[in-house]
């Protein structure tokens, strides 16, 4: 426990001192929420738009839709970029060697990383909700506990995916490239950029297999007061296991 707290404190300090990760992870989703809201507006009349037999905005205004959806984008950025870049960079520089020589357990390292990611995410979600509420009078989360559970499950799922990336990808540059690619691909097809209703049906089928798609609805449902989306939560838990187990197995210290 003492080790976990010390590791978490050190990681918190490092996160604060690393401007890029803060800027991208928090500013990009916020910026996208503001821009997409500016494009599609915050009109209750749009709530019932139908395209391809689906409600385009899931029965809420575009701003509400993007506010909750963009919180999921923070999770994806943390899991697909911050985590693998951090860990593979640690490996490349010999920091992992140093940690292992001092009996730092891998579980402590990972849980500290996940804790920092979760704290960042909470801050990001608060900022997102607050800015949308201030700027567009957007809906605040209707079911805070439901949103928190979705965020926690999402953090573990994306944390596991990030860990898998860090375990299989060689260096930090490779992690950066692959992480960025995965991030933008997921961002585009998961409903966080164009709503899924306007996607061509082939792409919509693909997006069913994308973890971010499930995280978006897992967060949106309680946020809008639609109840908990158990099926999405279960899929995310599945991703956590399918990515996490081989990641732990394949993790290398040097």
């Amino acid at each position: 426990m003492r080790g976990y707290l010390a590791m978490t404190r050190a990681e918190m300090r490092l996160f604060r001192r690393e401007p890029f990760s803060v800027v991208f992870v928090l500013a990009f989703p916020l910026m996208m929420m503001l821009l997409l809201s500016a494009v599609f507006g915050n009109d209750q009349a749009d709530a019932n738009d139908v395209e391809n037999g689906m409600l385009v905005w899931r029965g809420v205004t575009p701003t509400d839709y993007y506010t909750a959806g963009s919180v999921a984008v923070i999770v994806a950025a943390l899991g697909l970029m911050t985590l693998p870049i951090n860990l593979s960079g640690y490996r490349e520089q010999g920091i992992l060697r140093r940690l292992r020589a001092s009996s730092v357990p891998a579980s402590t390292l990972f849980s500290a990383q996940l804790t920092v990611a979760f704290a960042t995410l909470l801050a990001g979600a608060l900022i997102m909700g607050f800015v949308a509420w201030l700027g567009y009078d957007a809906t605040l989360p209707q079911d805070v506990a439901g949103v928190a559970v979705a965020l926690a499950v999402g953090t573990v799922a994306f944390g596991a995916i990030g860990l898998l990336l860090a375990s299989v990808v060689g260096g930090s540059r490779a992690a950066q490239g692959i992480g960025l690619l995965l991030f933008f691909a997921m961002w585009l097809v998961s409903g966080t950029a164009p709503p899924r209703a306007v996607l061509p049906s082939g792409l919509r089928d693909v997006s069913d297999y994308v973890p971010l798609t499930h995280l978006v609805t897992a967060i949106q449902d309680p946020w809008f007061g639609f109840g908990w989306s158990w099926s999405d939560l279960i899929v995310l838990a599945g991703f956590a296991i399918v990515a996490g187990v081989p990641a732990l197995w394949l993790f290398r210290w040097d």
Binding site: G3, M7, E18, Y90, R98, A101, S102, S103
Partner: protein
Amino acid sequence: MASMISVDGLHKAYGSTIAVDDVSFSVEEGEIFGVLGPNGAGKTTTVECIQGLRSVDRGTIRALGFDPTTEAGELRQRIGSQLQDSALPGRLRVAESIELFSAFARNPVDIDQLLSQWRLEEQRDQPFASLSGGQRQRLFIALAFVNSPELVFLDELTQGLDPQARRATWELIREIRYHGTTVVLVTHFMDEAEQLCDRLAVVDRGRLIALDTPQGLVDGLGLSSIVRFSTSESDLSWIERLDVVDSVTREGDSVEVRGSGGVLALVAAELVAHGIVPVDLRVDRPTLEDAFLALTGRAIRS
């Protein structure tokens, strides 16, 4: 008293490259044990196997009674490591990093004491990335002592340190040994091995080729001393007739006498007896470097 470390028939290969080939030795409590050899000789691999940082292909290792392949966790609580090629996050500060590592130690030492011992007080709030090579090295050595270890491994301890800092570091290592910590020192510096180590394992191309005290290594090879002086006297055949003398060569007035044992005293006595009192009489005794050259057939830095 059981050995602190015993290594028996250690063998380790990376693919088809044999890094460590059938190496056996033991390290006793309270000594500074040196592992000396050129780069790529297998020194680091050997000590990393002992610390449980690398898997072992063949052979048995016991360190503080633990098997590093199965009891690495217990072992690492009791040893300190200063590794080659390791780093800390660039933005982590000196005191913060010591604080971090001490959180994983069962018996952590006082952070301020550690900082002052390794002359890092002024850098305590400096981030790792801004430290000089010597300061980084001192921080890594400090981290090796953060858990009050019974046994420390120092891999290329004075790499990147200036001559003054090297000597200061040697002094501290002697002090640490004085307080009862056993030290395993990996080095390719002859002077460091000679100055610091009680015993030396000389490693070359993965094999242990000699194991003795630094002086024992030099003496055991029966290498010759060279006595040098100048004289205008042309006939020196009486020197050549001395038992301890192997050869005499001269170039103008400069004379070189090769021999073993007490060659200096005997040559000097003969010179005086013949009325020759050279002011530049001196002797070059064989050094560890000469012994290393004789053992491996090549210089360490080649």
